[in-house]
């Protein structure tokens, strides 16, 4: 599906941050903002909801903990009991390092995979770049437009809020 975007190019992150607030106040829906580096406060300005990734992380961690405890208690306690260092078969303090490591392992990998999945990042995915300068020194505000959009008005809003140029671009991958 092809989408059309109006791109407001900004030279400064402070200008961009205020522009985001003002453009949203003017009733224009911002599709996405592309910046060379993370900008503090832009999530709030764009009204992006907080990610629920931490909740997923908690359950991944819990899974890892449960798996580690099950693995050690089952193998060392029931399946093939062995006396190690004169300790009981199920020696919980000795299991804690492994339980900790597997909690962290499951948590990290689970989070990374979940993050890739929800961001639709997977192998062979070509990342659409609306303006290559957003990887260098420009800040790009993308606004989805269609044939009903009043381009003059939109350009004017962007210009008034400090955009150095306003371009249009079509993208087929979105």
């Amino acid at each position: 599906m092809t989408k059309r975007f109006a791109l407001g190019i900004f030279d400064d992150e402070d200008v961009l941050l205020h522009a985001v607030e003002n453009v949203r106040e003017a009733g224009v829906k911002i599709y996405e903002v592309f910046t060379p580096f993370p900008i503090h406060g832009i999530d709030d300005a764009m009204g992006i909801e907080r990610s629920r990734l931490p909740i997923a992380a908690f359950f991944f961690g819990l899974t890892g903990l449960a798996f580690a405890l099950w693995l050690q208690i089952y193998t060392l306690g029931f399946d093939w009991p062995m006396i190690i260092g004169g300790k009981p078969h199920i020696a919980l303090p000795a299991f804690i390092p492994v339980a900790f490591e597997l909690t962290v392992l499951f948590c990290c990998h689970g989070m990374v995979i979940t993050f890739y999945a929800i961001s639709k990042l997977y192998p062979r995915w070509k990342t659409p770049v609306l303006d290559v300068r957003s990887t260098d020194d420009k800040f790009v505000m993308a606004i989805e437009v269609n044939e009903n959009t009043d381009m003059n008005k939109l350009t004017q809003i962007l210009r008034e809020n400090g955009a150095s140029e306003v371009n249009q671009k079509e993208m087929s991958k979105f």
């Binding site: 992150e13 402070d14 503090h40 303090p93 000795a94 804690i96």
Partner: protein, 442 residues
């Protein structure tokens, strides 16, 4: 550095210690004295302590080391408890107090901007160091009444042929002798006091004159202090805490004690910041700053547990008698007197902060932070209790005298801290990173 909006005008604001607040501090002290007197009376009547555990103590002591006869009898239980409690509380409060300077020094060295709005609280926290040194020396002197606190100060314990001779303690005489011990204690606290004073002076001069000179000087002082503190805090932990269990040793101990002090210090700063905010001060303190303090509390509770467990697991697994005696005493020793506290210690210092502070919202809410920081302070006070009591009081430990003395310490600590807080503006108005701190977002 991006400034999101123009610099807001920041004006100095001074804490006014109201007569009501002063009354509260005095009430804490009076309550402490009352509890202390009650505890002494109960102890004299023989209520609330466990004399029947004497055999357990003797057994544990026998396991500890080859002790050359001459069973040593200390002071009357109440006096013994007062001396040990004085030492216990002073080590806890002095350590927490030093964290004020340590935290500030780390922020300086890291060029951290966010913490500028709570910097004055850190400075005020260190006000206890000077009385800490005095009480440390007084309590060490009281130890010589009957050698209740430090077994190794017993006369003749390091002389071959003496009835008190103990070969293991004699082997440590090069380090653990009274003159060198006193020199070290004065040196640690002297150095901490010196660097605290230096940073405080620079900070106050900056308030008056502004500019970045004082900031750069503070960084140099902080860097030097951190090196000094890294060595001295670890050695202070051996001297002040580990030498109580003189036959025993642990290479993790310096870290363990430091972790306990550190997380308590951060809890104290957080609690103080919240109380000031709720009293209408610190208008620049936002949930974002509390969020970062909350992260520190959460993270270093886990760090403390990590160090605690590293020490425990190695000793438990190797099961060497000379090492395991420490946990024998605490887990099931003396008729299981310390067992509940041993597990309660883990619950309050690890499980509780870990589960409660896990979410972002909890770290940003004052009420949650308040509950957790109080829990951490109480928890680490009991952590130190658990470090001192089994080695000194054996089975005769109690809580009433100890809580009484803790309340007296708390009252005095708060009086000194608020006094120092009131001496300077609560916001360091000319700190170069103040603007960054004001616009801090997390």
């Amino acid at each position: 550095m991006a400034t999101l909006t123009h610099q807001e005008s920041v004006t100095a604001e001074y804490l006014e210690v109201t007569p009501g607040a002063r009354k509260t501090f005095m009430l804490i002290i009076i309550a402490g004295v009352a509890v202390l007197i009650l505890g002494v009376i109960l102890s004299m009547l023989g209520i609330g302590s466990h004399h029947e555990a004497a055999e357990g103590a003797a057994a544990a002591h026998g396991a500890a080391a080859a002790h050359g006869g001459a069973e040593h009898h200390g002071s009357a239980p109440w006096l013994k408890r007062i001396i040990i409690s004085l030492w216990h509380n002073n080590v806890f409060f002095t350590g927490v107090s030093a964290i004020g300077t340590v935290f500030m020094a780390i922020q300086y060295v890291a060029y951290a901007g966010w913490s500028v709005v709570v910097k004055r609280i850190n400075e005020a926290l260190s006000a206890w160091l000077i009385p800490g040194l005095v009480i440390m020396l007084v309590a060490f002197g009281l130890n010589f009444l009957n050698h209740d606190l430090f077994h190794w100060t017993l006369p003749g314990i390091m002389e071959k042929g003496n009835a008190n001779y103990d070969a293991i303690v004699a082997g440590k005489s090069g380090f653990l002798n009274i003159p060198f011990y006193l020199i070290r204690t004065v040196l640690y606290l002297g150095l901490w006091i010196f660097f605290t004073k230096r940073l405080r002076d620079l900070s106050l001069a900056e308030d008056l004159q502004g500019g970045t000179t004082f900031f750069h000087k503070s960084i140099n002082v902080s860097a030097a202090f951190l090196v000094v503190y890294a060595v001295t805090s670890s050695m202070a932990a051996w001297d002040w805490v580990m030498s109580v269990d003189v036959h025993w040793f642990s290479t993790m101990f310096g870290w363990y004690v430091f972790a306990s002090w550190w997380v308590s210090g951060i809890a104290a700063v957080t609690l103080c910041a919240i109380l000031l905010k709720q009293a209408g001060y610190l208008p620049l303190l936002k949930p974002d700053h509390l969020h970062d303090l909350g992260k520190f509390m959460f993270g270093f509770s886990i760090f403390w547990t990590y160090v605690w467990f590293s020490q425990f697991m190695l000793i438990w697994y190797a099961n060497l008698p000379e090492e395991a005696v420490y946990f024998n005493q605490r887990l099931g020793g003396f008729n299981g007197q310390y067992t509940w506290l041993f597990f309660a210690n883990l619950a309050i210092n690890f499980v509780f902060p870990f589960l409660v502070m896990m979410t972002r919202d909890a770290k940003r809410q004052m009420i949650m932070l308040k509950i957790v920081s109080i829990a951490i302070l109480v928890g680490h006070w009991s952590d130190f209790y658990l470090m001192f009591m089994p080695g000194t009081m054996k089975g005769d430990n109690g809580f009433i005298i100890e809580i009484g003395i803790a309340l007296i310490f708390l009252g005095c600590f708060l009086i000194l801290m608020t006094k120092r807080l009131a001496q300077a503006s609560l916001t360091p108005v000319h700190h170069p990173f103040l603007d960054e701190s004001v616009h801090h977002t997390t």
